[in-house]
């Protein structure tokens, strides 16, 4: 065993992870509760999942949320990657300070401010609130997170690879697509996933910017939670958790395999 890993270290990690995971585990467990009382165990049952699928309002909200999340995450990934390139590659241009400020500020900006300001913009330009406005709002928020994720990969990127390609006559745009993009792809993929889950998750900004007919799942869950804790909501949350967990695990496994493959390639290249 590692001599520097003391009993204190292990205890704090175990307690910390128990604190992080226990509430989620309890929520999942009680979604399978027969009793309508969320905190009293009345036997195993999946009936809340069945009733969930018959809840038309919830199903509609899920569909809206999924579409908003896919569209906004995709656009945000493109914009965020461009922003990351700007931040790392163009170190001096007019208004760079302003630009990096606009990328970093939304990360910590209280959501009520972002939501209100975007809503007032949409009203000012006469855009009806609905699906489009929620999507635009989510793009703006999540592109900054994508930019940070991609930027951290671009900083450690070995630019001699690009230089080699360009010395061999590849134009910059082609160099980007054939050399840079494949290398930073894992960061772009995790950026997309982060954007997707942030959009899936957002209550405050969506409440401000959405209109009739574009109620998202968090808005629906929130309005029901305010009326009290129900096993049906526990079931809906469990499904969301399962989807996200499976997605994250698949992505990290794929990432790991790519990494192993890359190391093997490098070794082969060194031998050859």
């Amino acid at each position: 065993m590692n001599p520097t890993w003391s009993r204190f270290n292990i205890t704090s990690i175990v307690l910390g992870f128990a604190f992080l995971y226990l509430p989620i585990v309890l929520l999942v467990v009680f979604s399978f509760n027969e009793s309508k009382l969320v905190t009293v165990w009345g036997g195993f049952s999946t009936k809340w999942y069945v009733s969930l699928f018959h809840n038309q309002g919830l199903m509609d909200a899920t569909w809206v949320t999924a579409r908003v999340a896919v569209i906004s995450a995709t656009v945000a990934t493109v914009l965020g990657t461009l922003a990351a390139l700007t931040l790392t590659r163009y170190t001096r241009f007019k208004g760079r300070m302003l630009f990096s400020g606009m990328v970093f500020a939304p990360l910590v900006m209280p959501e009520v401010i972002t939501g209100l300001s975007l809503l007032l913009l949409f009203v000012a330009v006469g855009l009806d609130r609905g699906f489009l406005t929620v999507t635009l709002a989510h793009i703006t928020l999540t592109m900054c997170f994508v930019a940070v994720v991609v930027q951290s990969r671009l900083i450690t990127f070995d630019r001699s690879l690009e230089e080699a390609a360009m010395d061999l006559g590849a134009p910059p745009v082609k160099t980007f697509f054939q050399i840079t993009l494949p290398v930073i792809m894992p960061a772009i993929v995790s950026g997309w996933m982060l954007a997707f889950t942030l959009s899936l998750d957002d209550l405050v900004i969506a409440s401000f910017t959405s209109g009739p007919g574009a109620t998202t799942l968090p808005m629906k869950i929130y309005s029901q939670v305010r009326l009290g804790v129900t096993p049906e909501i526990n079931a809906a949350c469990t499904i969301l958790i399962a989807v996200v967990t499976v997605g994250v695990i698949i992505a990290s496994l794929a990432n790991k395999r790519r990494e192993v493959q890359r190391q093997r390639d490098e070794q082969a290249a060194q031998r050859g």
Binding site: F99, L107, V108, P110, I113, D201, L203, V204
Partner: protein, 324 residues
């Protein structure tokens, strides 16, 4: 300019020499677009909205759709613009200073966020420290385990605590059954519940920067201190803690700034008895439909946070420089 940039510039100049002027022009345009597209997007969707918030915070409430009297349009030409300039009022701001509710909400929010930040640091530091000293093989898994809850919905994680903290909830059931207490504790709908909610939800934001600062640390320094007879506690305060300071600062800002304007946690866990500015803004907007006052609330909140936000940005820029 850094060395890498110089090499890059020279080599791209060498590559440029053999190309036609047209191809070079095309690339220059592409290079510009890389900057211009995200730049314009953020100016339009992030910067301009703040200008509009400021503008509307100076307007009068009106019973209309949208519910405020229009100000500062160029619809009536320049003279109309100046006529409207006179209509601008700071009434909404005077209103905020006269009503003790708003001042209380601001002060409480800052205090609650500050206490929560300290608590998150106290909970997060031992975890990050333990992770940084874990066997190298285990570290990626531990890191993944800290990040994973962050991927599950914020709303769901806050909601999960309602079932635990309420009077007939799981925590009280456990404590009553084990005989620790004889009366159920009232935690839900108090500030304690808000502290628990913030510490829980923002813990990964604190642990991650702390971990990355602690992981980089050279532990032979601690051993050297020990060999020279320095007790572990003072070695921690003299070596470990100062070296982890960038992580402490980044983590605290990442928790403090959003916590001041937090809405979901005070609303779901704090109930109607607790007062925080994010909730006040929400109610002004959704319940009272008073857009000008909620804009004024937002402007003041932003002014309160502008210094921490700039500190955060400086810390980010410095971390980026170090990574290079």
């Amino acid at each position: 300019m850094s060395n890498a940039a110089v090499t890059a510039a020279t080599s791209s100049r060498a590559a440029d020499a053999g190309k036609s002027a047209l191809a070079r022009l095309g690339e220059a345009v592409v290079g510009r677009l890389v900057i211009i597209i995200p730049y314009l997007w953020l100016v339009f969707f992030f910067l301009i909205p703040f200008v509009i918030v400021f503008k509307i915070s100076l307007s009068q409430t009106a019973i209309a759709i949208p519910p405020y009297a229009p100000v500062l349009g160029f619809g009536d030409g320049l003279s109309g613009f100046f006529a409207q300039l006179k209509q601008l009022s700071i009434d909404n701001y005077t209103w905020l200073t006269q009503d003790a509710l708003y001042i209380n909400a601001y002060v409480t929010s800052v205090v609650v966020a500050a206490i929560s930040t300290v608590l998150t640091l106290l909970v997060g530091y031992p975890i990050a420290y333990g992770m940084a000293r874990a066997p190298a093989m285990l570290r990626p898994t531990l890191l993944m385990l800290v990040i994973l809850p962050f991927w599950t919905s914020f709303l769901i994680r806050v909601y999960a605590w309602i079932g635990i903290l309420k009077p007939e909830g799981l925590l009280n059931q456990l404590l009553l059954a084990t005989g620790v207490i004889s009366q159920p504790l009232i935690i839900l709908n108090t500030y304690t519940a808000i502290f628990i909610g913030i510490v829980y939800s923002y813990l990964p934001f604190m642990v991650l920067p702390l971990y990355s600062a602690l992981e980089k640390m050279d532990y032979s320094l601690i051993e050297a201190a020990k060999d020279l007879g320095c007790p572990p506690t003072s070695a921690f305060w003299k070596i470990t803690f100062p070296l982890s300071l960038p992580g402490v600062i980044a983590g605290c800002l990442l928790v403090f700034i959003p916590a001041v304007g937090e809405f979901v946690i005070p609303d779901l866990l704090g109930g109607s008895q607790t007062l925080m500015i994010g909730k006040t803004l929400w109610n002004e907007f959704f319940a009272n439909r008073d857009w000008p006052v909620s804009s004024a609330v937002a402007v003041i909140l932003l002014l309160l946070l502008i210094v921490p936000i700039m500190l955060f940005q400086r810390a980010q820029a410095r971390a980026q420089e170090q990574d290079k």
